[in-house]
């Protein structure tokens, strides 16, 4: 019990809840919007799109620790290629992405979006591909504009796939730990310490097993509550 009291009066615990919340919320929204747009975009079947699709899927199979390291190199303030690249487009004095606490959380979210938008894309695109094409044909014949088709036909038809992908992504995002480990190690300060990472740090770095386990239990409780609420609102599995 002592551990729980300690946790509840622990500042880092509350800040890590905030960090986790912002990260899951923002990353998920961006990923869903970008993933769905990509799915619709790739539905045009341009030449060479198969090849680009294969490239696009790659980030999601990479080891998040390696992804974190890779972006640490890209965003390096001295020699990272990213700053050079945006410099070409006239951005001078870029922020120090991984050391300025004002920016680190957004950098983490950015990398998460880079890695995981493909997941949403793959799931939604697959559903989109399986839709009967004659629906779109007849709408086009009836003179519906492309935007109207997307709004009133495509989106409602793929919505269940979007929900499925978003739930899985949300779960994994809530547990995010390996990307933080590779990219920022929770810092600077506590600006990117997620709940999961904080629990890991206590268990594996400080050997405070009791504290770490109590923290994990709190995560499980939060997840269970979140999950039951979600299931109430959204039927994941269509009843048959």
């Amino acid at each position: 019990m002592g551990n729980y009291k300690e946790i509840l009066s622990d500042k880092v615990f509350w800040s890590s809840i905030l960090v986790t919340g912002v990260m899951v919320g923002v990353a998920l929204i961006v990923e869903v919007v970008a993933g769905v747009s990509l799915a619709i975009f790739f539905g045009q079947k341009l030449r060479g799109s198969k090849f680009v699709r294969a490239i696009l899927i790659t980030p999601m199979i990479l080891n998040p620790v390696v992804v974190g390291l890779m972006w640490r190199a890209l965003l390096n303030p001295q020699w990272g290629l990213f700053n050079w690249f945006i410099g070409v487009f006239g951005v001078d004095n870029p922020p120090i992405w991984l050391s300025d606490p004002k920016w680190t959380l957004w950098t983490l979210i950015f990398v998460d979006v880079w890695q995981w938008t493909p997941f949403i894309f793959v799931v939604v695109f697959a559903r989109y591909q399986a839709l009967p094409m004659d629906v779109f044909e007849s709408a086009r014949v009836d003179g519906a504009s492309p935007l109207k088709i997307i709004r009133y036909i495509t989106l409602p038809l793929v919505s269940s796939a979007v929900v499925f992908a978003a739930i899985f992504r949300g779960i994994d995002s809530f547990r995010t730990f390996d990307l933080v480990y590779g990219l920022t190690f929770g810092g600077p300060g506590r600006s990117t310490t997620t709940l999961s990472f904080y629990s890991f740090e206590n268990g594996f770095v400080y050997y405070r097993y009791g504290f770490a386990s109590a923290l994990s239990y709190i995560m499980v409780i939060m997840a269970t509550i979140g999950f039951s609420v979600l299931l109430k609102w959204i039927p994941v599995r269509r009843s048959h």
Binding site: N63, A73, D178, S199, A212, V220
Partner: protein, 279 residues
């Protein structure tokens, strides 16, 4: 006019396509490039595209042999294949049961299984280590295989339930009328139909295991049994600054088996996901 605007919108589409490709491939290409550099050349901006083969050989020799990534890769291959096969052997009948047989509360069982995926690995790492010690398999491959199967199953079962749900029950009934029992129906009639689902489930399980390192760090102590992600994580916990050329080489070595694997099964991924999407 219409042709002109069509051409314009086509070219906008193609520019977008190229931009997407660059965003996707650029960081990975950079990783490859860094892995061909000497440590002192890392600071060049932009990096020169000239590749010195002697440096490449040196970097990769260090990672593959001195850091024993060869044995880590073999380890990971063994563990991943065993786990994928076991999860499919256990998961397929489970998914069939939950989808087909009218068991009381099967809906609740399947959501409980899904909720297991909510469990943060951090939460169970210590209990898993203790259980593996209890079974005397800590610091062995089996000690990793058991928890990995447990972690893969929820995903595998859930993907397969979706595929089984898609197959009309009339097919089962027809098989039953022809005198097949449940096992034969599953093995000879339904299994071929859910094959795309099995491929997808196997791929997702493989990706997960290929990248898992938290449980691995707890369970595995010995250098010889480390998997690739455990070795990768070791790069960071080292107290000295990172040698970026070595780190990049490690990154490339980590992702190459996955790249080869995903290219080999690309066709199945698309086919499998498309089939599952009918849901």
């Amino acid at each position: 006019m219409t042709t002109l605007s069509r051409v314009a919108s086509k070219s906008v589409s193609y520019v977008t396509l190229v931009v997407i490709a660059i965003i996707g491939v650029f960081p990975i290409a950079y990783l490859f490039l860094l892995s061909t550099k000497r440590r002192i050349d890392i600071g060049d901006v932009p990096p020169s595209l000239k590749i010195e083969w002697s440096v490449v050989v040196e970097n990769y020799k260090e990672v593959l042999f001195e850091r024993s990534y060869i044995s880590s890769t073999i380890n990971t291959l063994i563990i991943t294949s065993v786990v994928v096969v076991l999860s499919l052997i256990i998961g397929t009948p489970a998914a069939y049961t939950l989808s087909r047989l009218k068991i009381k509360g099967s809906e609740r069982i399947s959501t409980t299984i899904l909720s297991l995926r909510f469990m943060p690995p951090v939460a169970v790492a210590v209990p898993i280590l203790l259980s593996m010690r209890f079974l005397h398999v800590a610091n062995t491959r089996i000690g990793l295989i058991i928890p990995y199967v447990a972690f893969s199953l929820p995903l595998v079962i859930w993907i397969l339930i979706g595929f089984f749900d898609e197959i009309p029950t009339e097919i089962d009934e027809a098989a039953e009328i022809d005198g097949a029992n449940k096992w034969r129906t599953l093995l000879q009639v339904l299994l071929p139909l859910v094959r795309p689902g099995i491929v997808v489930a196997g791929i997702f399980a493989a990706i997960f295991i290929w990248n898992e390192f938290l449980i691995g760090m707890y369970v595995i102590d010995s250098e010889a049994l480390k998997t690739v992600p455990i070795a990768d994580a070791g790069l960071i916990s080292a107290q000295r600054p990172i040698d970026w050329n070595v780190a990049a080489t490690v990154g490339v070595v980590t992702l190459i088996p996955l790249l080869i694997g995903s290219m080999a099964i690309q066709k199945h991924i698309v086919q499998g996901i498309t089939a599952g999407a009918v849901k």
